[in-house]
């Protein structure tokens, strides 16, 4: 990916050093749990109060992979239509997306297709996507089956997890998988496909069935 080179370690002071910086976005309908999910991952906290996000916000978290420091800049977006202009402006530089729906909310699942189209319209071709069916702790109120979630993910070419920000289920795993996918894509494109680094049109990862899983990751 073109972005990786200029993101390499531009920090100066001690804590600012990192080997790579990945920009990730969390998108999906309002109230599916995007903010809670990020809170759980970055601060290991959860609150049942619903404060609708205004516009956009972000948190930073550093992860380690193969002795490299990867700084994750994770953008939390507001799901409501009125913020569409401001949120889509941030799609451009994103290397990964967590597209979230709520397993107790049919409408939020129905909107996944639209969100996916938004990604295709506004982000790079190589952006990686994980579909997350959140609130899987609420089994009693479930209206979207695991199978329909998995099937849709397959059709869209995304990875899939059911998650719970409340009970801390698959939160870390979702982010780790997304980071792996980005790393895989990076090494793949740097090794084999010079067109990708120059941003030339190339086969979309999302067009092929399951994403390639290479063990080696050069980051």
């Amino acid at each position: 990916m073109a972005a990786t080179q200029d993101m390499k370690g531009k920090g100066e002071g001690g804590d600012q050093n990192f080997d790579y910086m990945f920009k990730l976005l969390i998108i999906g309908n309002s109230s599916v749990g995007k903010t809670s999910f990020l809170f759980r991952y970055a601060d290991d906290a959860f609150t049942s109060a619903f404060v609708s996000t205004v516009g956009i916000d972000f948190k930073v978290k550093t992860v380690y992979k193969n002795d490299k420091r990867i700084k994750l800049q994770i953008w939390d977006t507001a799901g409501q239509e009125r913020y569409r202009t401001i949120t889509t402006a941030y799609y451009r530089g994103a290397m990964g997306f967590i597209l979230m729906y709520d397993i107790t909310n049919e409408e939020s699942f129905g909107a996944v297709q639209d969100w996916s189209t938004q990604i295709k319209t506004y982000s790079w071709d190589n952006a990686q996507v994980v579909l997350a069916g959140n609130k899987c702790d609420m089994e009693e109120e479930r209206v979207v089956s695991v199978d329909s979630g998995r099937l849709l993910a397959e059709q869209l070419g995304f990875e899939f997890f059911e998650t719970s920000a409340k009970d801390n289920i698959n939160v870390k795993q979702t982010f780790e998988r997304l980071v792996d996918l980005i790393c895989d894509k990076m090494s793949e494109s740097l090794d084999t496909d010079p067109a990708v680094t120059t941003g030339a049109p190339t086969a979309k990862l999302t067009d092929s069935a399951p994403p390639l899983q290479q063990p080696g990751c050069n980051c």
Binding site: V54, Q73, I86
Partner: protein, 229 residues
């Protein structure tokens, strides 16, 4: 949910209640003069006093479901230029019917040379990152951009905690049309906003401001000067 407000505009007296509480408390602090000159409260303190008073009053009046107030995170303040956002909520959908994004401007004895006077401390890593990520526009322009990106039902309100010749009062300039000015003079700065008060323009009360907003036609541009205290 609390007892719902019967008529759509019934929230206005409650809002005014919260505003007066917040303004008068803030005024006390704005006018405070330490006889020994040892206390130098930060600008942020005044903003917090205003917000804390406003929020506790609106919670006790059960106003928050109808007219809510969201304080921005430090990152959002840099990205969006807003200190907090007020929203009049549509009842069933909980979508905002109108929003007012507020940026507080503090009285500056000596004019800062830099444009970004209203900037929060850029100390933490997150703040530095937010700064890098956001456009190179100043804080005033960021607020206007944010409101413009939402639409004509989102108003930018620059709230002056004290003015040059009146240090103890709170004034505001509200508009959903500042972007027109960007087009004309290619830059919004403090002088540009202060200019709205020059001449003998009419000053609205907070209640008059709110009445004007809820009765105006949707896409109409509006610009108001308000005295809050």
């Amino acid at each position: 949910m609390g007892p719902s407000v019967a008529k759509p505009n019934d929230f206005i007296p409650l809002f005014i209640d919260c505003i007066s509480a917040a303004s008068s408390r803030t005024q006390e602090y704005l006018l405070f003069k330490d006889p020994e000159d040892k206390l130098h409260p930060s600008f942020e303190l005044f903003t917090h006093v205003f917000l804390m008073t406003y929020i506790s009053q609106s919670v006790s009046l059960n106003l928050t479901d109808t007219f809510n107030c969201t304080a921005m995170t430090p990152g959002q303040r840099i990205l969006l230029g807003a200190d907090w956002v007020w929203a009049l909520m549509e009842k069933p959908s909980r979508n905002p019917r109108l929003q007012i994004a507020v940026q507080v401007l503090h009285l500056q004895e000596k004019e800062d040379t830099e444009e970004n006077t209203a900037l929060p401390d850029i100390c933490s890593e997150t703040m530095q990152m937010a700064q890098q990520e956001s456009s190179n526009k100043n804080m005033y322009e960021k607020l206007v951009d944010f409101c413009t990106s939402i639409g004509k039902d989102c108003y930018a309100l620059f709230l002056f905690f004290g003015k040059k010749n009146d240090k103890g009062n709170i004034y505001g300039v509200l508009s959903n049309n500042f972007e027109v000015a960007i087009g004309k003079c290619n830059k919004i700065d403090r002088g540009f906003i202060e200019n709205f008060f020059k001449g003998s323009r009419y000053l609205h009360t907070p209640s008059g401001m709110m009445q004007a907003l809820v009765t105006k036609k949707e896409q109409d541009p509006i610009t108001l000067m308000i005295k809050f205290s």
